[in-house]
C-alpha cells in the first residue's frame, strides 16, 4: 500500500479500508473468543474464570453447568444473601447460589432446567418462594427489562459465537481479563454468591428503616383487621398458576433429591396487617405451597414468612425485602437445623413435617 497521499489511488483507499476493517474485526473477535467472558464458548481456553457480567443472567449458565456443584439455591434477590460456603459443610453438599435479581418464574425455570440437564440427581435444591410465585391471578411477564441471553441456556455452545461482537461483551471480556490478571476483584464468586453489600459499607440502621418504614423511626406492627379484606370464596378461586409451574418443575426430580421450598422472610412491615390483603395473599400462597409439598416425599417447606422475632427485627434487614449479613447467618443456621438436624420448627421458622423414610438424605 502506498502511503504517499499524492499518488494514493481509489484502489489503495479500498484496500486500506477493507484491510483495516477486517483487521480490527478479527482482533476484536479473537480477543472475546479467547477470553470468553461468559465461559460458554465451544473452543474456550481452559482459564479459571469468574462470573464477569453484572447481569447474572449472563454469568450463571456456566456455573449451572459446572460439575463442582451438586446442589442449588435459586430464586430472586430475596435468597441472594445465602452464602454457599456457610452451608456446604453442615449440609454435606456443594451448593451454587444462582438466585438472580428480579428473576421471573420463567427465568428461574431456565436456570433450573439447565442445572438439571448437567446434574441428573442434584442432592439439594433450596428454592426461594416469594412474590414471583405467589401471584394469585397472573403469571407475570417471562422477562424483565434485563436482557436474557437464551443462547447461553441451550446445549449448543457454537451458536454463542454469533453473540460475541458487541460492546457489552467487550466490557465483560475486559473485566474477565482484569480478574484473570488479578487486577480487579470479581463481580461474583465462582459459586455465584455475592453479598448485596458489595462494597462492604458499614451497616446503617437509619437508612434501612427509611427503606422499611419511609422514616427513621420504627412503626409498630399493624393491628389485625376485624374481618378479612378478601372473602374466603375469592381466595379459594385464586389460581396461583405459577405454583402449578413450580409443581411441574420439582416433579422432575426423583426421590434422591431433597427439595426445600423456602418461604422467604419479608420484613413484617411489608406483610401488612393480619387479615389484610397482602397477608391473606401470602397465607393462601403458603397453603398451596404446603399442599404441593405433601404430594412428594422429597419436598419440604420451610416458612420464614410470618411475624416473628426475625421479621420484626429491623437490624436483620437492608430493606423490607432483603435480609442482611446478620440476618443471613440466622437463616442459614435455621436451614441447617431443619435440613441436617431435622428440627421441625423454631421461633423464626415453621416447616412441613412429615415422617421420613431412611433418614436425612442430604
Amino acid at each position: 500500500m502506498n502511503r504517499n497521499s499524492s499518488i494514493f489511488s481509489s484502489s489503495s483507499y479500498v484496500k486500506r479500508f477493507v484491510l483495516t476493517a477486517a483487521g480490527i474485526l478479527v482482533v476484536a473477535i479473537l480477543f472475546v473468543a479467547i477470553i470468553d467472558p461468559n465461559n460458554t464458548l465451544a473452543l474456550s481456553p481452559p482459564f479459571e474464570r469468574y462470573p464477569a457480567a453484572t447481569n447474572q443472567r449472563f454469568s450463571y449458565p456456566s456455573i449451572a453447568r459446572s460439575k463442582t456443584f451438586d446442589s442449588l439455591i435459586l430464586g430472586t434477590s430475596t435468597t441472594r444473601m445465602l452464602e454457599p460456603a456457610n452451608l456446604n459443610k453442615n449440609l454435606n453438599v456443594s451448593l451454587a447460589n444462582l438466585s438472580m435479581n428480579s428473576a421471573t418464574w420463567w427465568e428461574q425455570e431456565q436456570i433450573f432446567n439447565l442445572f438439571l440437564r448437567h446434574h441428573k440427581q442434584p442432592r439439594l435444591i433450596i428454592w426461594g418462594i416469594d412474590t414471583i410465585w405467589c401471584n394469585p391471578d397472573k403469571t407475570g411477564s417471562r422477562l424483565t427489562q434485563r436482557k436474557f441471553p437464551e443462547w447461553l441456556y441451550d446445549e449448543n455452545s457454537w451458536n454463542d459465537y454469533f453473540h460475541i461482537l458487541n460492546f457489552k461483551t467487550f466490557e465483560r471480556a475486559g473485566k474477565q481479563l482484569g480478574t484473570l490478571l488479578r487486577l480487579r476483584q470479581p463481580n461474583y464468586g465462582r459459586d455465584g454468591y455475592r453479598s448485596l453489600n458489595k462494597k462492604g459499607a458499614p451497616y446503617d440502621l437509619a437508612k434501612a428503616r427509611r427503606k422499611i418504614y419511609g422514616q427513621t423511626a420504627p412503626i409498630a406492627p399493624a393491628k389485625a383487621l376485624d374481618r378479612p379484606a378478601i372473602d374466603a370464596a375469592t381466595r379459594k378461586n385464586w389460581q396461583f398458576s405459577n405454583l402449578k409451574t413450580l409443581d411441574k418443575l420439582v416433579s422432575k426430580l426423583d426421590g434422591n433429591t431433597r427439595v426445600v421450598l423456602m418461604m422467604v422472610p419479608y420484613h413484617q412491615n411489608s406483610l401488612g396487617a393480619p387479615n389484610g390483603a397482602t397477608m391473606l395473599r401470602y397465607e393462601e400462597c403458603k397453603k398451596r405451597v404446603f399442599k404441593l409439598s405433601d404430594k412428594l416425599q422429597n419436598i419440604d417447606v420451610i416458612d420464614f414468612m410470618f411475624r416473628s422475632s426475625f421479621t420484626n427485627e429491623d437490624k436483620n434487614y437492608w430493606d423490607p425485602l432483603h435480609f442482611n449479613e446478620q440476618g443471613a447467618k440466622q437463616i442459614e443456621d435455621s436451614l441447617v437445623d431443619f435440613i441436617a438436624k431435622g428440627k421441625p420448627a423454631s421461633k423464626i421458622y415453621r416447616t412441613s413435617v412429615k415422617p421420613r423414610q431412611g433418614g436425612d438424605k442430604s
Binding site: 502511503r3 497521499s5 499524492s6 494514493f8 489511488s9 481509489s10 484502489s11 489503495s12 483507499y13 479500498v14 486500506r16 479500508f17 477493507v18 483495516t20 476493517a21 480490527i24 474485526l25 476484536a28 453473540h163 460475541i164 461482537l165 458487541n166 460492546f167 457489552k168 461483551t169 467487550f170
Partner: protein, 468 residues
C-alpha cells in the same frame, strides 16, 4: 435482512460482494452469471424476513414480465394490455395495503368484521409495484430497452433498492445490469460505495434511532392528552429529523451498496430541509417518488398544459394519491392533501410574481413540513388534535408532565439540525476525491467497525419506510 444488522454487514454482504468480484476475474462483463448471482442473492435477502412473502414477489415479477413481453411484441394498439397490467398491479397493492382500511371505513351496517381478514402487508410491495407499473408504461414507448426474464427479475429484485427504493426506472437500471460489471473507475465506485454505506449507517444508527427514542414517548403521550408547548415542538423536530435521517440514510446505503457492484442508482435526497419553497422541497425529498408521480400521474392528468385551475387540481390529486401511497390511513391522506394545497398555493404565488425573502421562504417551508409530519406520524385523530393544539400552546396536559432530554438526546437533536441544515448530502461528499486522503480510509473503516459492533448490542430497528 436489515442493512443495519450484523447478519447483513458481516455475512451476506461480504459473501455476495466477494463472489461477484471473484466471478469478475473469470467472466467478461455482461455475462449472465453476474445477474444470476445477484438475483439469487436478492431473493435470499428478501426471503430472510419471511419466506412466505417470496412467492408473491416472484408471481408479480412473472406476470408483469409476461405483460411487458406482450406489450413490446404486439404491433397494434397496446392500450388495453397496459390498462390490464396497471389494474392488476393496483388490485394486488389495493388488496394487501388498503383492503383493511376500506373495510374499517365502511358503515358498520355492511357487517364486515375486519379482524376476519387479518391481511399481512408484504414487505416492499409499494415499491416493487410502482417500479413495475413504470416499466409497463415505458414498454408502450418505442425506445423501451430490450430485456430477458433474468434482466427484468433482477431489475425488480436488486436487493439494494428492493425494500424501500430508490424507485428506479427500467431504462436507468436494465442497461447497467446487462453490461455489469462496468469496470471503468470501479475502484472509485467501490470507495464511494463504502463511504455512502458508512455515512448512511451513521445517519440511521446514531441519529435516526436516537431521535426515535425522543419522539416515540411524546407521540404515545399525545394519544391520551396534549403536551406542554416545548414538548410538542421537541416531538415535531425529533420526528421531522428522524424520518429524514432514517429514510435518507437508507437511500445512501442503497446507493452505496449498488456502487459496490458498479451500479449507479438515482439520488433520492438533496438536502430537502434547506428548501425555500414547498415546490423545491418536493424536488429534493424522495426524488424518485416525486419523479414517478410527476411522470405517471401529474402529467397524464394534464400537468401544466391546461391552465392554472386544471394544474391545481392535478397537483392536489397527485399529492393526495402520493399521501395514500404511504399507507392506508387518514393521516397520510390529510398529509398528502395539505402538501398538494401548499404546492398549488406556492405555484400560484410564484405565477403572480410575488417573492419572499429566502430566509422567510425557508422558515415557512420548514415549519410547514415539520408540522405536517406531525400529522403523518400521529396514530389517531385524537393524537393529531392534541399535537396540533399543543404546538400552539393550547394542549390540555397535566402540568407535572414534561419530557426532559438527557445530554445524549440534546446532542443528537442539535447534531441533526446542523447536519440537515448545514452539511451536504453524503452523495455529494462521495463525488469529491476524498479517496486521495489515506487517513480517511482508516477513519471510515474504524467508524464502520464501531457501528457493526454497536449493532451487536442494540435492538435492530426497522426503517420507517419499510411499512410503506
Amino acid at each position: 435482512m436489515l442493512f443495519n444488522s450484523q447478519t447483513f454487514l458481516l455475512v451476506f454482504l461480504p459473501i455476495v460482494v466477494a463472489s461477484f468480484w471473484l466471478l469478475a476475474r473469470h467472466r467478461h462483463s455482461g455475462h449472465p452469471g453476474f445477474r444470476l448471482l445477484l438475483l439469487l442473492a436478492s431473493w435470499v435477502f428478501y426471503a430472510y424476513w419471511d419466506i412466505r412473502l417470496l412467492p408473491l414477489l416472484l408471481a408479480s415479477i412473472a406476470v408483469n414480465y409476461m405483460l411487458i413481453s406482450i406489450l413490446v411484441k404486439s404491433p397494434g394498439p397496446k392500450k388495453h394490455f397496459l390498462v390490464i397490467g396497471i389494474a392488476l398491479n393496483l388490485c394486488v397493492l389495493g388488496f394487501f395495503k388498503y383492503f383493511n382500511f376500506f373495510v374499517e371505513n365502511l358503515p358498520s351496517s355492511f357487517g364486515f368484521d375486519v379482524d376476519r381478514f387479518n391481511i399481512v402487508l408484504p414487505l416492499a410491495i409499494s415499491f416493487f409495484t410502482f417500479q413495475q407499473i413504470s416499466a409497463l408504461v415505458d414498454a408502450t414507448r418505442e425506445k423501451f430497452h430490450r430485456q430477458n426474464f433474468l434482466d427484468y427479475a433482477l431489475f425488480v429484485s436488486f436487493f439494494p433498492q428492493l425494500i424501500a427504493g430508490p424507485i428506479v426506472r427500467h431504462d436507468e437500471l436494465v442497461p447497467q445490469l446487462q453490461t455489469m460489471p462496468d469496470r471503468r473507475e470501479i475502484d472509485t465506485k467501490i470507495a464511494r460505495g463504502l463511504l455512502l454505506l458508512t455515512l448512511g449507517l451513521v445517519k440511521k444508527v446514531f441519529i435516526a434511532d436516537n431521535l426515535s427514542q425522543i419522539a416515540n414517548p411524546l407521540f404515545d403521550a399525545s394519544l391520551k392528552a396534549g403536551l406542554p408547548i416545548v414538548d410538542a415542538w421537541i416531538a415535531t423536530f425529533a420526528f421531522g429529523f428522524q424520518i429524514y435521517f432514517d429514510f435518507s440514510g437508507y437511500s445512501d446505503m442503497a446507493l452505496g451498496l449498488a456502487l459496490m457492484f458498479g451500479i449507479v442508482l438515482p439520488v433520492n435526497f438533496k438536502t430537502p430541509y434547506k428548501s425555500q419553497s414547498l415546490t423545491d422541497f418536493w424536488r429534493t425529498w424522495h426524488i424518485t417518488l416525486s419523479s414517478f408521480l410527476r411522470d405517471y400521474l401529474y402529467i397524464p392528468l394534464g400537468g401544466s398544459r391546461h391552465g392554472s385551475a386544471r394544474r391545481s387540481i392535478a397537483v392536489a390529486t397527485t399529492m393526495l394519491l402520493g399521501g395514500l401511497w404511504h399507507g392506508a390511513g387518514w393521516n397520510f391522506i390529510i398529509w398528502g392533501g395539505l402538501h398538494g394545497a401548499g404546492i398549488a398555493i406556492n405555484q400560484t404565488w410564484r405565477r403572480l410574481g410575488y417573492n419572499l425573502w429566502p430566509l422567510i421562504g425557508w422558515a415557512l417551508t420548514f415549519t410547514f413540513v415539520m408540522i405536517t409530519f406531525l400529522i403523518f406520524r400521529a396514530e389517531s385523530a385524537t393524537s393529531i388534535y392534541n399535537l396540533l393544539m399543543s404546538v400552539i400552546g393550547l394542549g390540555q396536559y397535566k402540568s407535572q408532565w414534561a419530557f426532559s432530554l438527557d445530554g445524549l438526546q440534546i446532542t443528537v437533536l442539535v447534531a441533526a439540525f446542523i447536519i440537515a441544515l448545514g452539511l451536504p448530502e453524503p452523495y455529494e461528499i462521495s463525488q469529491r476525491q476524498f479517496w486521495k486522503t489515506p487517513w480517511l480510509a482508516t477513519g471510515a473503516a474504524v467508524l464502520l467497525v464501531a457501528i457493526i459492533i454497536y449493532l451487536g448490542g442494540s435492538f435492530e430497528q426497522e426503517f420507517i419506510y419499510f411499512q410503506f
